[in-house]
């Protein structure tokens, strides 16, 4: 099993994501440079946070043209696991691998803080080691995390159990106060139709070790490892 972490010019959580896989999950992992179409036979692709291309046109907008993204699209179409975190989520939306868009936070400011998210489905290779309804403490750090999609897309997401996480209170209530950025329906993370692509704004890479304040986010990496080794699953 091998993980690949994409590196775009301006990615800045690439090392953090790499570190979780290598040092906490103890799995083989490699960096994949944006300019090369090769995924080097990786079994799972991680699209890390940061400011790819400075986020200068729109967050995630320029990264989708990278040669590596063409390969990632095909990889996902073939059922490969792709996790996009923060800027990675924005890139996956821009690239059309996930529906909707991430807009400027409702408060118009960058927000970095610990938040709580509720697991909305355990039925995915990213959440299989979690319980539905389980609350995780995971930090956010973004300027554009305000999830938006049209009503019919939202209906489809909900009907097909594709909302992976919602911002919640520590006890798991979905309230406007628990929504840090104005996201539609408190959405913090969504799955694609095939359930093999997850995009989320909160950072599991920043919450995989107790020393950093929370290790709750590690369950997402652990689920991926389980899915790939076939130890657990649907």
């Amino acid at each position: 099993m091998k993980f690949g972490v994409l590196v775009f010019p301006g990615s800045n959580c690439d090392h953090d994501t790499f570190n979780v896989v290598a040092e906490i999950a103890h799995q083989p992992v490699t960096f994949l440079w944006h300019d090369s179409p090769s995924l080097e036979n990786c079994d799972a692709i991680l699209v890390p946070g940061g400011f790819a291309y400075g986020d200068y046109l729109r967050t995630g907008a320029l990264a989708r043209f990278s040669p590596v993204m063409q390969s990632v699209r095909k990889f996902a179409d073939d059922g490969g696991l792709v996790l996009g975190i923060c800027n990675g989520f924005q890139i996956l939306c821009e690239a059309g691998l996930l529906p909707g868009a991430l807009m400027r936070n409702a408060g118009l400011k960058y927000i970095c803080k610990q938040v709580h998210i509720r697991t909305e489905t355990a039925d995915s290779p990213f959440t299989s080691t979690l319980r539905k309804g389980q609350v995780l403490q995971v930090p956010i750090g973004h300027m554009d995390g305000n999830y938006f999609c049209d009503q019919s897309t939202l209906d489809t997401l909900q009907r097909n159990d594709r909302v992976a996480f919602r911002y919640s209170t520590p006890t798991g209530e979905i309230t406007p106060e628990a929504n840090p950025n104005g996201s539609l329906s408190n959405i913090a993370g969504i799955l694609n139709e095939g359930r093999n692509v997850l995009g989320m704004m909160p950072h599991p890479d920043r919450s995989s070790e107790r020393i950093l304040g929370s290790a709750d986010g590690f369950a997402i990496f652990a689920s991926m490892v389980a899915a790939l080794t076939g130890a657990a699953g649907r």
């Binding site: 046109l57 907008a61 821009e94 868009a101 807009m103 400027r104 938006f148 999609c149 049209d150």
Partner: protein
């Protein structure tokens, strides 16, 4: 030839920045304003060899494929010699 491309959020999408500016205008007694939408403005300098029709087609393609995110944004443009 230059193309001036204006990108704004779709009218159906909430524009908190525009709203904040609008509120500030009203609070500062600019009563003539009922709504503000903000956006981005691009100036593309085009190759001289393009004729007007080619230029329009090229600019529309760029605006649609790259400069806007069709989920939330729309654009208008004008060409200038």
């Amino acid at each position: 030839m230059k193309a001036h491309v204006y990108v704004t959020l779709k009218s159906t999408v909430l524009d908190p920045q525009g709203q904040t500016i609008g509120n500030a205008l009203r609070k500062n007694q600019y009563h003539g304003v009922t709504d503000v939408r903000q956006g981005k403005y691009f100036v593309l300098t085009l190759q001289d060899s393009l004729d007007a029709a080619d230029a329009a087609a090229e600019v529309e393609r760029i605006a649609r494929d790259i400069l806007t995110n069709p989920v939330i944004e729309e654009f208008t443009y004008r060409l200038e010699d």
